[in-house]
C-alpha cells in the first residue's frame, strides 16, 4: 500500500508500556498512511492500541511507563520520532493538531476559553493582540458557538460538554493544521450533540481539505464519515480498506464479528451474534494470531504464526491466515 500522497505515514510502530506486571505491547508493529484530504478511521475496542497509536504520532506517550521502541512516523518524510523537541512543538501546532475524548479534562479551568484558543495562535503564529482576538472569534463562530464575542470571556465550566468539545476543535484548528487527530471526540457526548459535532467534522473535511485521523470504538459512527478504515485488534492491524470494502466485504473474522454484533434498529432479532470470549491481555500475547482464541475459523497455523498482511484488492488488505 505504498502511496506517495501520504502526508503522514506510520511505519512498523511499536509502543510498549513497561509496567510492574509485565510489558504491555499496546502497539505492536502498526503501519498505515494518511492521505491529503481523507478521513481515516481507526476502529477497535478498548485496549486495542488505537489511542496509543494516536498519542505516539505526536510523541505524547507518558514515559515512564510507555516508550516507543521502534518504528518511524513520517510527516512529509520527516521522522517525528527523531526530530528535535523544538521542531516537534512547531509541528504540533500547525502541522498536526489533536483533540481528545474528554473536553472537560483537556481545558484549563482557570483560563477563559478565549485565552486558551488565543494562546496557540500567539505561540505558533506570533500575531498581535487585535488579529489574535479576531481570529479566535472567527474560529468560535466557525465551530458553531453562539454569541462568540461574549462567550470568549467565559470559563470552561460555564459551557456544556458539547460546547466544550467545540472549543477544543476551535483550538485545534487555530493554526490551520494539515492533519487533525481526533481521539473518540464524540464518545462522551449525547446522541443529538454527537451528530452536531460530526457535522462540523464533515464540513472541515469538505471546506479545508483537512486530513482527519478519527479514532473510535463505534463502527456505526464510522460508516457515515470514513473514506478508509483501519481495524485494530490487540495492538495490531487486522484489516484496512475503504469504508465500502470493510462494510460490504469484511474479510477478517474480527471485522465480521464487529459488524454482526451491532444491534440493528430495524428488527428486533431474538439474538445478537456476539464475538465469544473477551479482549486479550497484551502482556504476553499469544505467539500466533492474537485473535485466534476468539476466532470461529481458527486453524492450527493460527496458533503458531503471526499472519502477514495480504492484499485482497486495490486498497483492501487483511492480516489473516485464511487469505494467505
Amino acid at each position: 500500500m505504498k502511496n506517495n500522497h501520504n502526508i503522514l505515514e506510520i511505519k512498523h510502530l511499536k509502543t510498549y508500556f513497561f509496567t510492574r506486571s509485565g510489558v504491555v505491547k499496546a502497539v505492536d508493529g502498526v503501519s498505515f498512511g494518511l492521505r491529503k484530504g481523507e478521513s481515516l478511521c481507526l476502529v477497535g475496542e478498548s485496549g486495542c492500541g488505537k489511542t496509543a497509536t494516536a498519542l505516539s504520532v505526536l510523541r505524547l506517550i507518558d514515559s515512564p511507563p510507555g516508550r516507543i521502541i521502534d518504528g518511524e512516523i513520517l510527516y512529509h518524510d520527516e521522522d517525528l520520532l527523531r526530530c528535535s523537541g523544538k521542531r516537534l512543538r512547531q509541528i504540533r501546532g500547525y502541522g498536526i493538531a489533536m483533540i481528545f475524548q474528554d473536553p472537560q479534562s483537556s481545558l484549563n479551568p482557570v483560563f477563559t476559553v478565549g485565552d486558551q484558543i488565543a494562546e496557540q495562535i500567539r505561540l505558533h503564529l506570533g500575531l498581535k493582540r487585535g488579529p489574535t482576538v479576531e481570529r479566535t472569534l472567527h474560529l468560535m463562530e466557525q465551530v458553531g458557538i453562539p454569541r462568540a464575542r461574549e462567550r470568549m470571556k467565559d470559563y470552561p465550566h460555564q459551557f456544556s460538554g458539547g460546547m466544550r468539545q467545540r472549543i477544543m476543535i476551535a483550538a485545534a484548528l487555530s493554526c490551520g493544521p494539515e492533519v487533525l487527530i481526533a481521539d473518540e471526540p464524540t464518545t462522551a457526548l449525547d446522541t443529538t450533540i454527537k451528530e452536531q459535532i460530526l457535522d462540523i467534522f464533515q464540513d472541515l473535511k469538505q471546506q479545508r481539505e483537512m486530513s482527519i485521523l478519527f479514532i473510535t470504538h463505534d463502527l456505526g459512527t464510522v460508516a457515515g464519515i470514513a473514506d478508509r478504515i483501519v481495524v485494530m485488534y490487540g495492538g495490531r492491524i487486522a484489516e484496512v480498506g475503504t469504508a465500502f470494502d470493510i462494510f460490504d466485504q469484511p474479510k477478517h473474522p474480527y471485522t465480521h464479528g464487529l459488524i454482526k454484533c451491532l444491534p440493528d434498529i430495524s428488527a428486533r432479532s431474538d439474538r445478537l451474534t456476539p464475538i465469544p470470549g473477551m479482549i486479550p491481555s497484551l502482556i504476553d500475547p499469544p505467539e500466533g494470531c492474537i485473535f485466534s482464541p476468539r476466532c470461529e475459523r481458527s486453524m492450527p497455523v493460527c496458533n503458531r504464526k503471526r499472519p502477514e498482511e495480504v492484499v485482497i484488492s486495490g486498497e483492501h488488505s487483511v492480516a489473516c491466515h485464511l487469505y494467505s
Binding site: E45, S46, S160, G162, M163, D190, T191, T192, I193, K194, E195, Q196, L198, D199, Q202, H217, D218, L219, G220, T221, A223, G224, I225, A226, A243, F244, I246, F247, D248, G257, L258, I259, C261, L262, P263, D264, I265, S266, R268, S269, D270, R271, L272, T273, P274, I275, P276, M278, I279
Partner: protein, 322 residues
C-alpha cells in the same frame, strides 16, 4: 393478556438547589416531572433519553432507592410510596436493579461469591450450604463458572463483572428488574453477549424489565415498548415497531435519525436538531422541546402539551397531534 406489574402515576422527583451559608433552598432540579406509565408482567419497557433527562432518577424513584417527591408507584396494585421499611425489604426481593458501572457497584474487598450471596443472607434465604449452591447456580446461569465465586472483582473483565451484577440482582428471584444503562460501559463485542444474556434470562425467568439506556439501537433491540423522555417528561410511548417505523414526536424522530447506520452507502444526513437540552431547573415554558423543535408552532411556546392516547395504545405529547 398479561397483567400490569407496575403502575406509575404522576411521579415527580425534585432535587433541591441550595445556596449560601445556610443552604437556603432556592430552586429545584425537576429531574422527573410528572411521569405516568405502566410496566406489564414479562415485558421490557425501554426508557430512552439523553443525559440529564431524568431517566436514571426515574428508575431509582420507581424502586424507592430515592424517595419520590410526589406521585404514586403501584406494585401489583399496592402503593409502594406508603410502605414502611419492613414492607420495602420484602419489595426488594421482588424488584432489583442492575447498574451501569459494574466496577463501582461491586465491593472490591468482597469475593464474587460473597457479593452475590449477601442478598440471600440479608433476606435469610436457606442455610449456608444452600446459599453456596445457589451462588454456584447463579454464576452458571449468567455464563460464569462456579470457581469465579472465590475471585475478587479486579480479577474479572468488565463484561464478567456485569454478569456478576446481573447474578446478584437475580439472587432473590425478582419479578421486576430495573437495568440502568447495563451495557453502555462495555465494548461492542461484549455488549452483544450481555444483551443476549439479559434477553435469555427474561424468557427463562419471566422477568419484567425497565431497561434504561441512551442508545436507541440497544433499546430497540431489547424492548417491547419504548418510552422516550425529554427534560423530566415522557414525550412519546409506543410499541417498538410503531415507534421506529412511525415516530410521531419530533424529538423521537431526531433521536432516530441520529442512530448511526452501519452502511457507508447511505450518505450521512445533517442533524435537524439545533441547540442543547435546556436546564431542568427552569424548563422552558410551553412545550419543553420547543426551543429545539424543527416544527415548532406558536401554540408550543405558550401551552404545554399533554400526553394523549393515539390509536394502537400509543401515547404522544405534542400539539401537532391535537
Amino acid at each position: 393478556m398479561s397483567q400490569k406489574l407496575v403502575e406509575v402515576e404522576n411521579l415527580k422527583k425534585y432535587y433541591p438547589v441550595t445556596a449560601g451559608l445556610l443552604s437556603r433552598h432556592v430552586a429545584d432540579v425537576k429531574a422527573v416531572d410528572g411521569v405516568s406509565f405502566n410496566i406489564m408482567e414479562r415485558e421490557t419497557l425501554g426508557l430512552v433519553g439523553e443525559s440529564g433527562c431524568g431517566k436514571s432518577s426515574l428508575g431509582r424513584a420507581l424502586l424507592r432507592l430515592e424517595e419520590p417527591t410526589s406521585g404514586r408507584v403501584l406494585y401489583k396494585g399496592s402503593d409502594i410510596t406508603t410502605w414502611n421499611r419492613r414492607q420495602l425489604k420484602e419489595f426488594r426481593k421482588e424488584a432489583q436493579m442492575i447498574f451501569q458501572d459494574p466496577q463501582s457497584s461491586l465491593d472490591p474487598r468482597m469475593t464474587i461469591g460473597d457479593s452475590i450471596g449477601e442478598a440471600l443472607l440479608i433476606h435469610g434465604v436457606g442455610t449456608e450450604k444452600e446459599r453456596l449452591e445457589k451462588v454456584a447456580e447463579l454464576l452458571q446461569r449468567v455464563g460464569l463458572e462456579p470457581e469465579h465465586a472465590a475471585r475478587y472483582p479486579h480479577e474479572l473483565s468488565g463484561g464478567q463483572k456485569q454478569r456478576v451484577g446481573i447474578a446478584r440482582a437475580l439472587a432473590v428471584n425478582p419479578k421486576l428488574v430495573v437495568a440502568d444503562e447495563p451495557v453502555s460501559a462495555l465494548d461492542v463485542s461484549v455488549q452483544a453477549q450481555i444483551l443476549n444474556l439479559i434477553m435469555d434470562l427474561q424468557h427463562e425467568l419471566g422477568l419484567a424489565y425497565l431497561f434504561i439506556a441512551h442508545d436507541l439501537a440497544v433499546i430497540g433491540h431489547v424492548s417491547d415498548r419504548i418510552a422516550v423522555m425529554y427534560l423530566g417528561q415522557i414525550v412519546e410511548l409506543a410499541a417498538r415497531k410503531e415507534l421506529f417505523h412511525h415516530p410521531l414526536h419530533p424529538y423521537t424522530e431526531a433521536l432516530l435519525s441520529a442512530v448511526p447506520v452501519p452502511d457507508p452507502h447511505q450518505k450521512r444526513k445533517k442533524t435537524s436538531l439545533p441547540g442543547e437540552v435546556p436546564s431542568p431547573v427552569e424548563p422552558p415554558p410551553g412545550c419543553r422541546f420547543h426551543t429545539r423543535c424543527p416544527r415548532v408552532m406558536e401554540l408550543c411556546r405558550q401551552e404545554p402539551p399533554v400526553l394523549r392516547s393515539r390509536e394502537g395504545g400509543r401515547l404522544v405529547s405534542c400539539h401537532r397531534y391535537g
